[in-house]
Amino acid sequence: MSDTARPASLPAFAALLGREFRVELRTKSLITSMGLFAALCVVIFGLGVKGLMLDDTFRRFVLAALWVCSWFAAVVGLNRAASADRNKGFFSALMLIPHDPALVYAVRLVAAMLWLVLTQALMIVLAVPMLRFDFFDQPLMLGVLVMSDLGVLAPGVLLASATGRARGGEALLTIALLPVTVPVFLGATGATEAMHTGTGSAEAMPFVLLLAVCDAMFLAIGLLLFGKLNEG
């Protein structure tokens, strides 16, 4: 953050977020690549499990498979955004704005969350008939979904801003992000399994707590370090 940088403000946040949406609505590059990737994953998993019996093991497999698809869809989106930044110089321009760089991080995070939630909505719509997935009987899953997305994207947006400039950055982001976000994956799969195997939301609470701790920690690290990671 330069000496003349102004603190983040709501109008600046709204203006930058509006810019992210306008760019995406014009190019449709993120939502199409993430959506197609997620849809293909569901179809391929569906092909692989079409003959299996609908029992508890099957349900657990489907839940884990959907989380894995979601994880990699997030990585596809982050890589695509980093690639556009690198090729068109968007990111360098954004870092020149006279505001705290944490504002750019927050805007990027909110936009990435929206694209990921839309992708997950598409996945769920496909998974209900193709993978015989019962999502709608557990409305609390929406909370778990949002918390998990935040837990993956908070370090993801931070790391993608640096790996986007590196050689082989697309593979690097996967290598760097997945180990760090494993606690989130444990929390997400644990909470989902507890809710869908009928043990109730009380059983899911330790996992939800784990997600909350990860979200808070990664968000704080991202807001504090985004400017430093991209300074100069």
Binding site: P155, L159, A162, R165, I175, P179, V180, P206, I221, L225
Partner: protein, 246 residues
């Protein structure tokens, strides 16, 4: 540029010697001092969550390498996080060398934890066949992920070209590695586990407690010598890079 050496080689040599002696003492105590036969009612007869009691017999001797190596991995991940924060605050290149050294040594000690744990699990939790003990148990899995995180930091460093960007990424990723060991430690409380939740029964036997403490000291000395060695090496690399740039 500073002309003085990064660290006295004598300190590294002394630590290496102490570490070697510590490792030999650990091996001697674990094979000749601790009891040969074990009986029910002690921790080396373990009962996994929801499982039947397992008598570990002689295999429990792996414990004296496995547990201190896990402590060493914890030290590596904690030092990497401290190094990351310290570099961001001071921008002294010594901290970069510490982060990298800790990740390199963390890879080695993490591999020891995983290998000894897997071989032990093959006997204790599996059928005895190699690989039969890998049951995706939470602590086992999170330790593997920590190992991947150490590897990821080293890969990231090699891939980023600009020195400033590389140092910044190293520091930030070092900080992100920090919280992973507490997760490994707490993993036994998250899901169903085959690991014992504490060692109080085991440590009530004086020979076991003495050997465990001696092994911890020995492996920590070996860890310190390895970190010191890699630190000297990395500082030398930094100096060569500075000379080339000058």
């Amino acid at each position: 540029m500073s002309a003085k050496p990064a660290q006295s080689p004598l300190v590294t040599l002394a630590l290496a010697g102490a570490g070697l002696i510590g490792a030999l003492v650990t091996l001697y105590l674990s094979y000749f001092y601790t009891p040969v036969q074990v009986s029910r009612g002690t921790l080396w007869v373990v009962t996994p969550d929801g499982g039947n009691t397992i008598n570990l017999y002689e295999s429990y001797r792996i414990f004296f390498v496995h547990l201190p190596a896990a402590y060493a991995t914890a030290v590596c991940s904690t030092l990497a996080a401290i190094g990351g924060a310290a570099w961001l605050l001071t921008r002294k290149e010594q901290w970069q060398a510490i982060i990298v050294s800790c990740c390199e040594v963390g890879l080695a000690v993490g591999a020891i934890v995983l290998l000894t744990g897997t071989f032990w699990a093959d006997y204790a939790w599996g059928s005895g066949r190699i690989g039969s003990g890998w049951n995706w148990e939470p602590r086992l899995t999170t330790m593997l992920i920590l190992w991947f995180a150490f590897a990821a930091l080293l890969v990231l460093r090699r891939a980023i070209d600009g020195e400033k960007a590389r140092e910044m990424m190293t520091a930030v990723y070092g900080i992100l590695i920090g919280p992973l060991y507490p997760l490994v430690s707490k993993a036994v409380e998250i899901g169903q586990t085959s690991h014992p939740r504490n060692f109080s029964d085991l440590l009530s036997a004086p020979e076991i407690a003495t050997t465990k403490h001696a092994a911890t000291v020995g492996i920590m000395l070996a860890l310190a010598s390895l970190i010191a060695l890699r630190y000297c090496w990395n500082r030398l690399g930094q100096r060569i890079a500075q000379e080339r740039a000058a």
